[in-house]
C-alpha cells in the first residue's frame, strides 16, 4: 500500500467546488454520491447534542434519587454515562447503524468509506476519537479542515478515510401526465431532421419538473431551445407557437418523437409514426431485454 502513491489522492487538491462525489466500483461503474456540507452536518450535530443532553438530564435526575440510597454508586454510574456519552455515542451509533447517528438519520446523512462502501466499526471509532481534536475549541479545527479539503472532511474523516454523504430519496421518473393531452406536430410542418435521444431526454426531464417554475419562467427557459429546434426543423407551422409558447412547442416536439415511436397508435396517421423505426438511434441491437 505504501508503494506508488501519486499525488492524485491529495484531499486538498484544487478542483471545481461541487457536492458531487464520484466513486468507481469494481464493476467499473461510476457511482455518484452527494457530499454533505458543514451546515447540514452542524444541524445533525445539534440534533444529536439535544438528544445527548436530554438523556444526560434524565439520567442525572435518576441518579439524584438513587443518590439518596447509594451516593457513591450513583455517582459512579453517572460518570460512566458521561464517559460513554462523550467518547462512545458517535462511535457506537455509526459503528452499528450503518454509519448513522440519530441526528444524521433525521437529516438523511450517512458516513461511508471513501471507496463508496459502508464503514466498519474501526472507521467509526477512528473518526470519532479524532473528534476530540476537531471539536477543540468549538469545532474550529474541524471546520477549517472541512473547508480546505475537497470532500468536506474533518480531521477524523481524513484519518479514518471516510466521507459524509446526503442520501437522496429518488423515485423512478414518471412521464409527465400533461403529455397525454398534447398533440404531436403534423409531419408536413417539419423537415427530415431528427433530434437525438439526449435532446429529447433533456426536454423530458425539463417537462417532468415543470411545476418547479411558473409558466412565464418555463417559456423563458425553453425559448433558446425552441428557437434552435424551429430553425433546424425549418418549422412551417404557426410561428406564433414558437414565439409565444416555446415550452408548448418543445413539449409537442417531444411528444412527436417519443410517444409515436412505439407504434401503439395506428390511428395517428398525421404523425411521423409511419417513419421506419430503425431511423431512430438503436441502443444495443444484440441485447435481449426480456431476459
Amino acid at each position: 500500500m505504501s508503494i506508488d502513491t501519486p499525488t492524485t489522492d491529495n484531499p486538498f487538491r484544487n478542483e471545481p467546488l461541487s457536492l458531487d462525489y464520484a466513486v468507481e466500483t469494481p464493476e467499473t461503474v461510476v457511482l455518484h454520491y452527494q457530499l454533505a456540507g458543514p451546515a447540514v452536518r452542524m444541524m445533525a450535530y445539534m440534533l444529536d447534542f439535544i438528544i445527548r443532553a436530554t438523556a444526560t438530564f434524565v439520567i442525572s435526575i435518576i441518579v439524584e434519587f438513587a443518590g439518596l440510597l447509594a451516593p457513591g454508586f450513583a455517582m459512579g454510574l453517572f460518570l460512566l454515562w458521561l464517559f460513554i456519552n462523550g467518547w462512545g455515542y458517535y462511535a457506537i451509533c455509526e459503528g452499528f447503524f450503518h454509519g448513522k447517528t440519530i441526528g444524521k438519520h433525521v437529516l438523511g446523512l450517512r458516513v461511508i468509506h471513501e471507496n463508496g462502501h459502508p464503514i466498519n466499526f474501526w472507521m467509526a471509532v477512528n473518526r470519532n476519537f479524532i473528534r476530540a481534536v476537531d471539536s477543540t475549541p468549538l469545532y474550529i479545527p474541524g471546520l477549517i479542515s472541512m473547508i480546505c479539503s475537497r470532500k468536506f472532511q474533518r480531521l477524523g474523516d481524513l484519518t479514518a478515510g471516510t466521507v459524509v454523504i446526503t442520501e437522496r430519496r429518488v423515485r423512478l421518473p414518471r412521464e409527465p401526465v400533461i403529455l397525454e393531452k398534447i398533440d404531436p406536430i403534423p409531419l408536413n410542418q417539419l423537415n427530415q431532421y431528427k433530434p437525438d435521444e439526449q435532446t429529447l431526454a433533456v426536454i423530458g426531464d425539463f417537462l417532468s419538473r415543470r411545476v418547479a417554475v411558473d409558466y412565464k419562467r418555463g417559456h423563458e427557459l425553453s425559448r433558446p431551445l425552441a428557437h434552435e429546434m424551429a430553425r433546424k426543423f425549418q418549422f412551417r407551422g404557426d410561428p406564433e407557437l414558437v414565439r409565444k409558447f416555446p415550452m408548448a412547442f418543445i413539449a409537442r416536439i417531444y411528444v412527436t418523437f417519443i410517444r409515436n415511436d412505439q407504434n401503439t397508435d395506428p390511428e395517428a396517421s398525421t404523425t411521423p409514426s409511419t417513419e421506419p423505426k430503425t431511423k431512430l438511434p438503436v441502443f444495443i441491437t444484440t441485447e435481449n431485454w426480456d431476459e
Partner: protein, 325 residues
C-alpha cells in the same frame, strides 16, 4: 428503442432488485437464500449495465439518479463488512492488540522516555529538595495530597463496612474511567496535530506524577502511598505511555509521511494507532477496577506489594508474548 421502451422493458428488473434490497434491509437478521443471492448478483450486474448505458446515452438525469441510487444501495449491501461480535473482542485483546503493539514498539519506547523520564527526574528532584514541588503544584494541592495519605485519613477510610466500601469506591471507579481513559484518548487523538499535544501531555503528566510521588515520600507517607499505587500503576502508567505511543504514530505520519501523502500515511498507519489506543483504553478500564477496589482495600501491605509486582510482570509478559505464534 428509446427511453420509454427502455424503461418499460427494464422496470420489472429494477423493481425486483429494490424489493430484494428492501427485504434484506427490513429484517436485520434476514439472510438471503442461495437462489436469492444468485438473483441479486445477476440483477446487480444488469443494473450496473443499465446505469452505464443511461449515462452514456444521456437518457435523462432523473433516470440516472434513480439507477445510481439503486446501484449504490446494492453496492453497499454487497461490500458490507461483517458485523462485529463478542468473539472478536477477545481476539483483539489477546492476539490483535499485543501483536500490533509489538509491531510499533519503537513508538512506545519513545513515549515511555517522554513519560517516565520526566516522571523519574521530578520524583528524584522533589524527594531531595521538597520545596521544588511548589513549582509544579500549588501548595493547597500538595496539602490535600498530604492529608489524603496521612495515617489518620487512611485509617478512617478503611474503617467502614464492606458494603459501604464497595458503594463508595464504585463512585471512584466511574471517575477513574471518565478521567483516565479520557486523558489517554486525548493523548492519542492529539497526535494528529504533528504530535505536539501528545508530547506535551506525556511530559506534563510525567512531571506532575513524579512531583506528587517525590513529595509524598519526602513527607513520610511512602509506605501508604506506594502500597496504594503499585498494583494499578502497572496497567495505568503503561497504558498512558502506550496511548502516547499511538499518538506519536499519528504525529509521525503527519511529520514524515514517507512515500505517501500526509493523509494517505495517516489513513494507513492510523489503523494500527487506533488499535493500540483502544487496547490502552481497555488496560485503563482494568486499572480503574484495581484502583477503585483493590488498591485502597484493607489488606496487609505485603500482599499488595506481591500482587503489584506480579501485575507488573503480567503486563510485561502480556505485551511481549501474548498472541505470539
Amino acid at each position: 428503442m428509446n427511453k420509454k421502451t427502455f424503461m418499460k422493458t427494464r422496470q420489472p428488473a429494477w423493481e425486483e432488485f429494490s424489493e430484494l434490497l428492501a427485504k434484506r434491509q427490513k429484517a436485520k437478521r434476514y439472510y438471503l437464500s442461495g437462489a436469492e443471492v444468485q438473483q441479486f448478483s445477476t440483477l446487480y450486474r444488469e443494473l450496473c449495465n443499465d446505469l452505464s448505458m443511461v449515462r452514456s446515452r444521456k437518457l435523462g438525469e432523473d433516470l440516472e439518479a434513480y439507477l445510481n441510487a439503486l446501484v449504490s444501495r446494492g453496492h453497499n449491501l454487497f461490500y458490507q463488512s461483517p458485523p462485529v461480535n463478542v468473539g472478536q473482542f477477545w481476539h483483539f485483546v489477546f492476539v490483535d492488540y499485543p501483536r500490533t503493539f509489538r509491531a510499533n514498539w519503537k513508538y512506545f519506547l519513545l513515549a515511555s522516555l517522554l513519560f517516565f523520564g520526566p516522571f523519574l527526574c521530578s520524583w528524584v528532584a522533589v524527594q531531595i529538595e521538597p520545596e521544588l514541588a511548589e513549582r509544579i503544584l500549588s501548595s493547597e494541592q500538595l496539602e490535600d495530597m498530604s492529608t489524603m495519605y496521612s495515617e489518620e485519613s487512611v485509617e478512617e477510610r478503611r474503617d467502614v463496612s464492606v458494603v459501604q466500601f464497595g458503594e463508595e469506591r464504585s463512585g471512584m471507579f466511574g471517575f477513574y474511567i471518565f478521567n483516565n481513559v479520557g486523558i489517554a484518548l486525548r493523548t492519542f487523538a492529539g497526535g494528529i496535530l504533528f504530535g505536539v499535544v501528545t508530547v506535551y501531555t506525556l511530559i506534563s503528566n510525567g512531571l506532575v506524577l513524579g512531583t506528587v510521588s517525590g513529595f509524598l515520600l519526602s513527607e513520610g507517607h511512602g509506605d501508604r502511598f506506594l502500597s496504594f499505587i503499585i498494583s494499578h500503576g502497572s496497567f495505568e502508567l503503561t497504558a498512558i505511555a502506550i496511548a502516547g505511543g499511538a499518538g506519536l504514530i499519528l504525529g509521525h505520519s503527519m511529520i514524515h509521511p514517507g512515500q505517501q501523502t500526509r493523509f494517505q500515511a495517516l489513513k494507513t498507519r492510523g489503523v494500527d494507532a487506533l488499535k493500540i489506543a483502544l487496547g490502552a483504553a481497555v488496560m485503563l478500564v482494568v486499572a480503574a477496577f484495581l484502583e477503585a477496589f483493590w488498591s485502597p482495600a484493607d489488606i496487609p501491605n505485603f500482599f499488595k506489594y506481591t500482587m503489584g509486582s506480579t501485575l507488573w510482570l503480567v503486563v510485561a509478559l502480556y505485551l511481549m508474548f501474548s498472541g505470539r505464534k
